[in-house]
């Protein structure tokens, strides 16, 4: 089975940066969900999802990000998105989710917050 999505995690102070690369769709999104859930439930509820390497993102992926956001906020943290490419930005904008998530141009900007 091919892996169309790779996920890498690194820590930046209180924040955990989840670097996604490839396609996040209904097939690959469950792995992202697991990753976000593990962090939010494991005492690391401040997450930046680095979308720079994401070429494609579908509604299931949006659902995973929304549920990740809720779990993070319930745990006193937050979930921010960094560096979405134009096609991903368009999907976020159409669904109005660009007003739900903190969106930053760079990971550094996202993790610089309070």
């Amino acid at each position: 089975m091919t892996e169309n999505l790779t996920l890498d995690t690194k820590e930046a102070g209180d924040w955990t940066v989840v670097e996604a690369r490839g396609e996040v769709d209904l097939y690959t999104a469950p792995r992202l969900k697991e990753q976000l859930g593990g962090l939010a439930g494991g005492g690391r509820p401040r997450i930046v999802v680095d979308l720079e390497g994401v070429e494609f993102l579908d509604s299931t992926a949006l659902g995973v990000l929304i549920s990740g956001l809720k779990r993070c906020r319930e745990a006193g943290g937050d979930l921010a998105l960094a560096a979405p490419r134009d096609p991903v930005r368009k999907v976020l904008s159409i669904t109005g989710l660009d007003r739900v998530f903190p969106i930053h141009d760079t990971v550094a900007e996202a993790t610089a917050g309070p």
């Binding site: 169309n4 209904l26 494609f56 509604s59 929304i66 549920s67 368009k90 159409i94």
Partner: protein, 140 residues
């Protein structure tokens, strides 16, 4: 057997097992055909999104049926048709519970497709089964 370009009225069909693993193949099929018939590059990302959402909705509404994506090139457009099932997309259940990502997604499927393609619609096919349809401008 000539190298002449394709002529109008051409039909393209793809059928895949009803598994999320193959939706990316459906997206690739659609963009490959689109490029070949001269659809502008700016439309390809929207096309990928719409095909992906239509397939996701098909998996949610037509359990066990193959994923079916058809395209027809006619009158300067490339029209797509993605078969859907008769089952209404998952009722969200207990409204006080947190929706699953899949439940959130089903609500977004059509919203995304219609936002991206003006002529997008869920229609009944000649076979009496519903399908998502939309079209994109093809090359000359």
């Amino acid at each position: 057997m000539t190298a002449a370009g394709p002529s109008p009225g051409e039909r393209f069909t793809l059928e895949l097992p009803p598994d999320p693993a193959y939706v990316s193949a459906a997206r690739l099929f659609a963009t490959t055909i689109a490029v070949q018939v001269g659809v502008e590059e700016e439309s390809l990302d929207d096309l990928k999104v719409a095909i992906g959402e239509a397939c996701a909705r098909a998996l949610a509404t037509a359990e066990g049926q193959p994923l079916s994506v058809k395209a027809e090139r006619a009158d300067g457009r490339l029209a797509f048709e993605v078969a859907q099932g008769a089952t209404p997309p998952g009722t969200a259940g207990d409204l006080t519970s947190t929706p699953t990502p899949q439940e959130l997604a089903v609500g977004l499927n059509l919203e995304l497709i219609t936002a991206l393609f003006d002529d997008a619609d869920v229609v009944d096919t000649a076979q009496g089964t519903p399908a998502v349809r939309f079209s994109v401008k093809a090359g000359a």
